[in-house]
Symmetry: C2
Subunit: 585 residues, 2 copies
């Protein structure tokens, strides 16, 4: 890693700033391409090290783990999308999209840690648009989606060129926790829907068997990940359990569903597959977008804008969490360049008729986690009582991250491999029940670790058993309740809207939480209260370099005081390992 | 409580001893009726207070909790026994037996805390004898069982009159943990069998639905009991959750199975009921035992002896755990008198053709627990680090036990009420799946809290995270492994034998663990090692008074050094609340 002299590095990083610039030069949107230029300039010197640093075991573990953590939910959403878009988007489209995204972002991305693929939200988007379009003219759906993507791509490029990603630095846990809770709830609902579908299409026997498998799959993964973060057995063995929990659980329960006898005799549904490398529908890979009426072309414009809004939040938050402060990262971020690339993949996805990929919120930090070298060390707290009086506690610290782009690239190759006939046949052996289990696992992971739930538990706990130095104790309970209530209203509104045909409007609600936090919240809460309860999501200096420096919050002058709660917890107990599905640690 | 002057009390208690007695008077078996006489003399003065002390809320909670914790497993075993004894023992027999035992032991028992009812082991016994008898002459089964019971009753009376219960003081956790693990494993197997039966008789749909309900029932009870022992919400609310976990879970999941639609349409099996107050088979309540051939009468003798052996261990261990040292009991025990009474109930059960009741190992301590007033207090450990440096920990202490016989009596009245037609119909709404869930809950509770598993976890844990004052650290790991291995061999042998027609021999194996512990183990382990790893099961002075004083173990002169491990854990974390199914805390 040649350019690793701290002084030079810091200096070159800090060159992207608007401090001290005057006139039109101080207006971010007018400095066209400035963010992208600095992203490339900052990141390019590390390109060779991104390959050279990759030859460690962690990259192998990471590749396998991410393949499962990326593909299982992607296929799960596709099952849902397939049914609800008139079978337009199938497994081949999903694999193609995932592979395309993995190849482009692993080779060209400025942030190769951010895993890009198919999310539940794009599935929600696609079938909601299907519901709307079929009211008027079902046949135009492919072309309409294509134009939505083209418009979205154009908006992406505008945002990237005009440095608008800079505003991501104002994202705090207030909105990203709400988003996490929203995503978690939607996933759990999807899991239930998957099981209901099993009852409806395959009958009661298949329904109950699928429900049983989904529950046991969830318990298996949850149990293995719990064991992985305990103190039984040797650290290397615990690490294996945590790394391969999804692999073990999936292979076991897929095999279980094929045991001859009652299990095999029950006709549960399996992943539907079609001819390898061909679109699901009888069409070519190129969408004939020039055949759409002009009125529909322009009708697609607002949808394209909404897609961009969704990706603006979803993709950038993925990158933020993949590069959060808890990970000791040494290489800089590049938000503008990556968002430009995302515009390109959106365009390609549009004209080939595949689902548009973007950053995976729950999975992106799992990738960094899988590359992090953790050490569980012993913390001895000596107490005042008698001889031998001490309390022993395991403290997890992250000593380094294997920052490279090979694991992402290899994962992409694996996905391309999956597109071939023999592996498609393997895919076909997977029962839908396993995917319902995936939904529950990822969804619950996102809810369990969520700050909203953690604060609720804090309020519920008997206060005499709470450590006296817990920062939340400095905030009045009423204020904590108000803070959670604000988040809960946001979550409830987005979940509710997602169940209607207005679902495509949900990115507006999520994005609206950012200005709400910046301008409204300080009227209700003091700076000290917000310091304790909220935290910057963009809290890593390697990240802020790409966002034009740290944010300035009205009424909260000192960014360093943010996140008291997180730092308190890390001081006492160390880091929590990233579980799949948890937004923050 | 009139006779509560400590000095007099202790003095009268200590009058049953063999210290300083000479000649034939020093031989326990020759002092006929001496134990029974002292049991009654010691306990009778408290009789009035057993009624007068009962007017508290805890008695209400205890009655309802014990009704569920007693009846649910009893019905569960009966479902099994009903199928496997040619439908001889049905629900009416089970209810009659439970009611009879509750009435006799609550009114006449010296240890009204010991809940007596139908166990899984007597079910195992009854159907194994059925398997054996039907090889020769199926028709004689009722009469043969009757004679088995008559012989068993006679052996009971001999044991009680000859003071042989005294040898129970040699029971240590070595054998009672093995017994607990054995019972837990058998329960889990029974749960699986119950579900397999659902698949076989009701078809796959019912099978999978039942499996789903059983798993969710288990998770419900387990989750509620976990919440009950956490520090969220107010103590009184947590207490409610812990007290009524079975009530809540059972009502919810029984209701769930009747929701119209797919659930109701699936024909799962329900508790089979017959005409109220009548035997399941067309017969009178009196068995015509005089109609059995003399050769069969004597063939029943060894079976009766085995029943006595089983009850000797099972019933007395129930009483021991119901009166363990962790409970601050003030009233004395009475093993001889109760074992005599057990002979009487065995006799009555025999001549009426109902299953023989005896002490319920997992449930008896739950009864005492439900009557115990727990206090969760705060323990602050000041540490050497910085300001505000302290660690807060909840410590559970038991301040008193509402020792009385009314809760046992009221529970008996509830069971009699269940025998009437309207409540039998309510019983009929309960799906067999719920009982599979009960088996899993009780079985897992017995395994999870078991000392064998705890020591295994100790061996698996990374030793650097173990507190340095943990007593097990003073024993070489090899020795701990050997100790567990001895227990595991005992458990494996009993579980294996239970699956064969030799199942009725299992009490011999369990009882054999006691002399093995007393004479063989000290050759392999030092006194210090046994002090740490083993503990007296009869460790309460109120109990030892009835057993003729503390035991003397060869090579372990000091009884007060026993149970270092338990005392270490109680010092640091307080008592663990009794969960249904856990033998020791």
């Amino acid at each position: 890693m040649s350019p690793d002299q701290p002084l030079t590095r810091e200096k070159s990083w800090l060159s992207y700033t608007y401090e001290g610039r005057k006139g039109w030069k101080s207006l971010r949107a007018l400095n066209l391409f400035r963010g992208m230029y600095h992203d490339v300039r900052r990141r390019l010197p590390y390109y060779w090290s991104d390959i050279a640093d990759a030859w460690t075991y962690r990259v192998v573990a990471s590749t396998i783990r991410m393949y499962f953590v990326n593909m299982l939910p992607a296929i799960a959403y596709t099952l849902d999308m397939y049914r609800r878009t008139g079978e337009f988007y199938g497994i081949n489209e999903a694999l193609f999209s995932s592979a395309l995204a993995a190849m482009i972002f692993s080779v060209l991305g400025a942030q190769p840690l951010t895993i890009v693929g198919i999310t539940g939200l794009i599935s929600l988007f696609n079938y909601t648009i299907y519901d709307i379009v079929t009211i008027y003219e079902p046949a135009i759906y492919p072309n309409f989606m294509c134009w939505t993507a083209i418009w979205a791509a154009i908006f992406h490029w505008i945002v990237a060129v005009c440095n608008l990603c800079d505003y991501m630095r104002y994202v705090t846990d207030f909105s990203s926790e709400s988003f996490g809770a929203y995503v978690g709830i939607i996933y759990c609902i999807k899991g239930v829907e998957e099981l209901v579908n099993e009852f409806t299409t395959q009958g009661n026997t298949a329904g109950f068997m699928s429900t049983m498998i989904a529950i046991l799959y969830f318990l298996t993964i949850y149990g293995l990940e719990r064991l992985g973060s305990s103190t039984v057995w040797k650290p290397w063995f615990r690490g294996l359990l945590a790394d391969y929990a999804y692999v073990i659980g999936t292979i076991f329960w897929v095999g279980f569903s094929h045991i001859p006898g009652n299990l095999k005799a029950t006709h549960v549904s399996f992943v539907p597959i079609t001819r390898a490398f061909y679109p699901t529908q009888p069409r070519g890979w190129l969408i004939h977008f020039w055949e759409l009426d002009a009125k529909w072309v322009f009708a697609a414009l607002p949808f394209g804008f909404l897609v961009m809004l969704l990706f603006y939040y979803d993709h950038n938050v993925s990158s933020l969490t993949a590069q959060a402060r808890q990970f000791p990262l040494k290489k800089p971020a590049g938000f503008h360049w990556d968002f430009f690339l995302l515009g390109c993949t959106t365009f390609l996805a549009g004209i080939t008729g595949i689902p548009m990929p973007n950053g995976l919120v729950p999975q992106a930090p799992v990738h960094t986690d899988s590359l992090t070298i953790y050490e569980t060390s012993l913390r001895t707290i000596s107490t005042s009582e008698g001889e031998g009086a001490e309390i022993r506690r395991p403290v997890v610290t992250a000593s380094a991250v294997v920052e490279q782009r090979i694991s992402h690239f290899l994962m992409g190759l694996l996905i391309i491999g999956t597109m071939t006939r023999p592996l498609l046949v393997v895919l076909h052996t997977m029962p839908a029940a396993v995917f319902a289990g995936v939904f529950f696992t990822v969804g619950w992971g996102s809810i369990e670790s969520n700050g909203i739930l953690q604060k609720l538990i804090f309020l519920a706990r008997e206060s005499r058993f709470i450590q006296r130095d817990e920062p939340l104790l400095t905030v009045r309970r009423r204020k904590i309740a108000l803070y959670i209530a604000c988040q809960a209203v946001g979550v409830a509104a987005t979940v509710a809207i997602s169940q209607t045909i207005a679902a495509i409007g949900f990115p507006i609600l999520i994005i609206a939480l950012i200005p709400f936090r910046v301008w409204i919240m300080p009227r209700w809460f003091s700076a000290e209260e917000l310091d304790v309860m909220d935290d910057l999501t963009a809290n890593n200096s390697a990240v802020l370099a790409s966002l034009g420096g740290p944010p300035r919050f009205p009424g909260q002058p000192d960014n360093e005081r943010f996140g008291l709660e997180r730092r308190y917890s890390e001081r006492g107990f160390g880091l929590a390992r990233q579980r799949a599905g948890s937004i923050h640690r």
